[in-house]
Amino acid sequence: MEASKKSSIVKNKKSFPLMGRFGTLSSEKQNNISGYLFISPFIIGFLSFIVVPMAMSLYMSFHDYDMLSSPEWVGLDNFTELFTEDSKFIQSLKVTFTYVLTAVPLRLITALAVALLINRKSKLSGAYRVLFYLPSVIGGSVAVSIMWRNIFGDTGLINGLFTTLGLDPVYFFKHQGSALGVLVLLAAWQFGSSMLVFLSGLKNIPNEYYEAAEMDGAGKIRQFFSITMPSLSPILFFNIVMQTIQSFLTFTPAYIISNGSGSPMNGTLVYSLYVYQKAFSEFKMGYASAMAWVILVIIGTVTLLLFATSKFWVHSESGEG
């Protein structure tokens, strides 16, 4: 009965007068229903894989929990321990901030420089984009981290070249600064995606701007600061925000290059690595949850600060949305 009714409606869809009336009568209601129907997977996923875990971790951050016995309420102890007793935590913050403050600018400056260099009429411009982007494509993999570790290793490519040139070998992984420097270089090496975004931004700057500037006698450098930079500033801003957030939580390179230890002397103990150690080596889930919330607040604050500074230097595109 039900099925036959359905099929007759489907069959007569075009000529069935009621369908049209039904559509117009409650179109707002119908839109609400079908709108939520279409986005329902997102809502379910958002609640079950983001909101619920976040709420759980907030709860856990006020508890001691080792996954075996039931959670034990400790109030703010996890947080006070972090900031007053845990010198490794302070060290990991230092490492992470140093990493973010060096890797992000280095990566973006390289990206911009290369974008400016290859943004020219050339038969090879397609090839350039592919070649310079390739490291970014494979950059997140374990294989590349292993490769990087061996390039800078005691008997690796760099030291091999040094020996050939008659120089003393440099033990990159014996000193805190140089070990972190190797990680920063690996991040800078993957400037490709930012470069592509800058390139598409450069293509959108009308050529007339430069022609007009030329007529006014402005030199290349002047043109760069008066036309290129202001036009690119929204893209630059977007890149800074996204890269900063990502860099705060870099994991794989530090994990592979230091064998999960953050060595030497915690010189490469980036924040995620320390959270990982606390959670999955020591099984201090409450403590690790507290750490996740601390870095979330830090990242949130830094992002807000970036947005606050944006009105002083980011050139807003009027008219376009």
Partner: protein
């Protein structure tokens, strides 16, 4: 005119040299994998192997703890394909709702998409682990695949942009022909957003293929290891003995990524240029 041409050629040469320097580490890795194991670090500064050999590949494919490396490749492929299929179809479905249907609370939910996009997954690594352990999903591929079936914020964002570029008249014409929302989505929208779907599929595959932390947390039995964990295990177990096979397997792990890149670079480069995907 002649001088201008000369200058152009010189700049091209300089750029190509820069590109070559950039790619030097990768070339070094690939050629080193064909060196004899004992030579790799003795001749690190030399690019071309003195004696070419594929022994490293033969040793590497034999795998670790008796499990051949091909098993790890299969495991990685399985997770990447299952997750990618879910991610692209759910994201397309969701993005149609956001792009074309006016409904109450849309602004709020779209803001949630943006928040998810900005939220680094590492933040929820610990709570998700606890949550999946409550669900009894540990030691399975479920934590690595099921969440993909509920849309991925980056892909939703990308596809919304794409759908907004499709003339609404096409939707209306289909509606006149008697198509419902679902019909419009399947018959009109899906075929037209193929490029965005391709871009999303490629990135989803890449992220899953390269992922280390997820498989490390959720796959504890060696027979379920992915390529990423297997390489990490190589690193741990063979720290001084057999670098050659580790280099060889590293190259193998990069092969699918590089092949896909060269086949579909158009989609990849367009995708990043519009969204700034990683």
């Amino acid at each position: 005119m002649e001088a201008g041409r000369m200058k152009k050629i010189i700049v091209d040469v300089i750029i190509l040299i820069c590109a070559l320097l950039m790619l030097y580490p990768i070339i070094w890795l690939i050629l080193s994998s064909f060196k004899e194991n004992k030579d790799i670090f003795k001749t690190a500064q030399e690019l071309i192997p003195r004696n070419w050999t594929v022994q490293n590949y033969i040793d590497g494919i034999s795998g670790i703890t008796g499990i051949p490396f091909t098993t790890f490749i299969f495991n990685s492929l399985k997770i990447a394909v299952i997750a990618t299929a879910g991610a692209i179809f759910s994201s397309a479905f969701i993005s149609y709702g956001f792009a074309r249907i006016p409904f109450k609370g849309k602004g709020f939910w779209f803001a949630c998409v943006l928040v998810t996009m900005m939220l680094p997954t590492e933040i929820i690594m610990v709570p998700q682990y606890l949550w999946f352990s409550k669900l009894g999903w540990l030691n399975s591929i479920l934590p690595l695949t099921v969440p993909s079936y509920f849309g991925h914020a980056f892909f939703i964002f990308l596809m919304i942009q794409f759908i907004k570029g499709i003339p609404i008249e096409l939707d209306e014409a289909a509606k006149m022909d008697g198509c419902g929302r679902m019909g419009i989505f399947i018959k009109v929208i899906m075929p037209l957003i193929k490029p965005a779907i391709a871009t999303s599929a490629i990135f989803s595959f890449y992220w899953k293929w390269e992922d280390l932390i997820g498989p490390t947390l959720y796959l504890t039995q060696p027979k379920n290891y992915t390529v990423s964990i297997a390489l990490k295990q190589f690193l741990d177990s063979q720290s001084s003995s057999n670098w050659g096979s580790m280099f060889a397997m590293s190259v193998v792990s990069l092969l699918p990524v590089i092949i896909i890149f060269f086949l579909f670079q158009k989609y990849i480069i367009e995708g990043i240029s519009t969204t700034g995907l990683k």
